[in-house]
Subunit: 339 residues, 2 copies
DNA sequence: CCGCGGACCGTAAACGTTTTCGGAAAAAAA
DNA sequence: TTTTTTTCCGAAAACGTTTACGGTCCGCGG
């Protein structure tokens, strides 16, 4: 930012009026002669004057900046959410300041510090895998900056949360398998530090309980979303004495990796084992067989989170609510009963 | 932003020194007694003081904000680029203000206006499909704000550009097919308003020319990346008198849609027709057969673009250069010659 | 004893706005 | 004419910083 090109002061000088008048004319506030106003407006347009947002922020005590910090944008779900957020931000003339934690709590903290330094009006956060410590969150809050958590939640914070009903989604997924006569259902479980993984596991357990299927711990295999991990998990699965007839994976990528691996080793999907994923990743409709999955409304999560945050900012009120969005089961070939 | 929690003024009062001293102590500039400095620093830490970024920007005449405007983040390639950008921005303590044009020139213009209003130090832009008009770009430039274009370029602007060598990538792709004995090679061509589509088409034509294969216009089928469009394109393809033995698609999504459609209609890939895509979308390694494709270094594009922009800002110099990154061919099953 | 340099710190201007308050002039009412 | 009201506009403070400039005090050399 080299020396501002045209300021309110320059306009004032050129028109032989005070800067106050110029400001009033442009803001359309207070009294100013119709003719004067027109002269001001005309010259402003002519010189492409645009007010310095920061100077305004200083006196208005608001920046119209929303800080967004996500673990990584490199995931279909978070892309969708960011999309929804910026769309809503645009409607309300807010800026979105984008930060990534790259799944580390160090970068997450640094991002939050930068965000309070630039006096963001509010923060939208989905925590990293590492995050345990709430001190930085408390500090943000004590600075009077509202936070809305979405998707990945740090428990214990008195703030509004926008989440997806993972539990119910997982329940639906497993019941879908049970309805298709699966009785030995395996689960690829995500990292237990993440609330979403826990919720999906709990949904799995609840479904079994509901249908009086005993829990077999050897069928619950830890798996960190990464392709390699999913392959090892699948290998473990295939080495069980009795092969399961169903698999509920914590996300689509591991489900897809599993399917690939199973196919390569002569296990047929869905005839021998039916598979359900989670996320409705674009890839899920591209593999063979297409993957049954649980759709999470990422775009809606983003829209809603940004919406309530802006609302809280405007009304200076922490609603401290939990918004839980519903998932949708999308049945495809990987769980079909008759071929 | 409710009334700033703790300001430099408050620190000064509490310590019975002037605000100038506080500022000097914290900035470590000018002379200030060691003991005084320590007292200041200690109290600042204690009260969690963080300077108001905007106030600083006002006097320093720089915001450390980089505006990024992309057509949509809802694409693997742009996600990667954004990722690279934020990583570099972080290293240099810059903010990234994120905007989406949703492929409309209206939103693109509005985003740019907002970005000059908040006095971003520089802009990183990949244009929308609609963009024809350069007036807004000129205005930004005339405000002294440097621009670096990446990926999708609006021709004629005297600014630095970071692009991928689409031409050479397409050339490689088609030569790969030719080397595998394809002689009737079709091309799904993207929208001609986009420089990238044009470059890929030209690469295709060049490859044919180089190997003295006559161009058959009926083999060049327009296709707008969308799934439906790709299906209609594939349908057209199958209705040709003689089926092509190769297909070079403008991007992976249309290639994948084509493969699905071909498979469903009994055409074998790669035996009957070999297919190459563009992008190395994660989906490309998940379908059956896995898709041969051209990898574009999205993350690197982002890193480089942000890097040169920051460099130009610091040195106040528009280098007006073109950085062309190389693609990489990733051979997979969809183009194998022996099965 | 005088003067000088250095160490330390305060005053005030500047950055570009918005907004309160009050004043001048014009118009209306008396 | 005088008073009141209205219309329009300017001065100045405020937002939270940085920084150029100058002042005070101290110690030291002469």
């Amino acid at each position: 930012m080299s020396k501002q090109v045209v300021t309110i002061k320059e306009l004032a000088q050129r028109l032989n009026v005070s800067i106050a008048t110029v400001s009033r004319a442009l803001r359309n506030s207070g009294d100013v002669n119709r003719e004067t106003r027109e002269r001001v407006v005309r010259l402003a347009a002519e010189l492409h004057y645009s007010p310095n947002y920061f100077a305004q922020s200083l006196v208005k005590q608001q920046t119209k900046i929303i800080g967004v910090v996500v673990p990584t944008i490199y995931s279909h779900y978070f892309s969708q959410a960011l999309c929804g957020m910026t769309d809503v931000a645009n409607e309300h003339d807010y800026y979105v300041m984008f930060c990534q934690s790259n799944e580390t709590s160090g970068l997450e903290r640094k991002s939050m510090e930068k965000l309070v330094a630039c006096h963001a009006d509010g923060l939208l956060i989905s925590i990293s895998k590492e995050t345990k410590d709430r001190s930085m969150f408390d500090e943000v809050l004590s600075n009077g900056i509202p936070i809305v958590q979405f998707d990945r939640i740090l428990p214990g914070l008195q703030v509004t949360k926008v989440i997806v009903d993972e539990f119910e989604g997982a329940l639906k997924a497993v019941e879908h398998l049970i309805a298709r006569k699966c009785r030995r259902i395996a689960h690829f479980a995500g990292p237990m530090e993440l609330s979403v993984s826990v919720n999906r596991l709990n949904g799995y357990l609840e479904a079994l309980k509901k249908h009086r299927i005993p829990v077999d711990k050897s069928l619950i295999i830890p798996c960190n979303s990464f392709e390699d991990d999913a392959q090892t998990a699948t290998k473990k699965l295939m080495h069980l004495k009795v092969l399961p007839d169903g698999l509920f994976a914590v996300n689509d990528l591991s489900a897809i990796a599993a399917i690939q691996y199973l196919k390569k080793h002569g296990v047929r999907v869905p005839q021998d084992i039916k598979v359900v994923g989670f996320n409705d990743d674009p890839a899920s409709r591209l593999i063979d067989p297409t993957l049954t999955t649980i759709m999470q409304p990422g775009y809606e999560v983003g829209k809603l989170a940004m919406g309530v945050l802006i609302d809280e900012i405007k009304n200076k009120k922490n609603k401290n609510q939990v918004f839980k969005l519903r998932t949708k089961l999308i049945a495809r070939e990987s769980s079909r009963s008759r071929i």
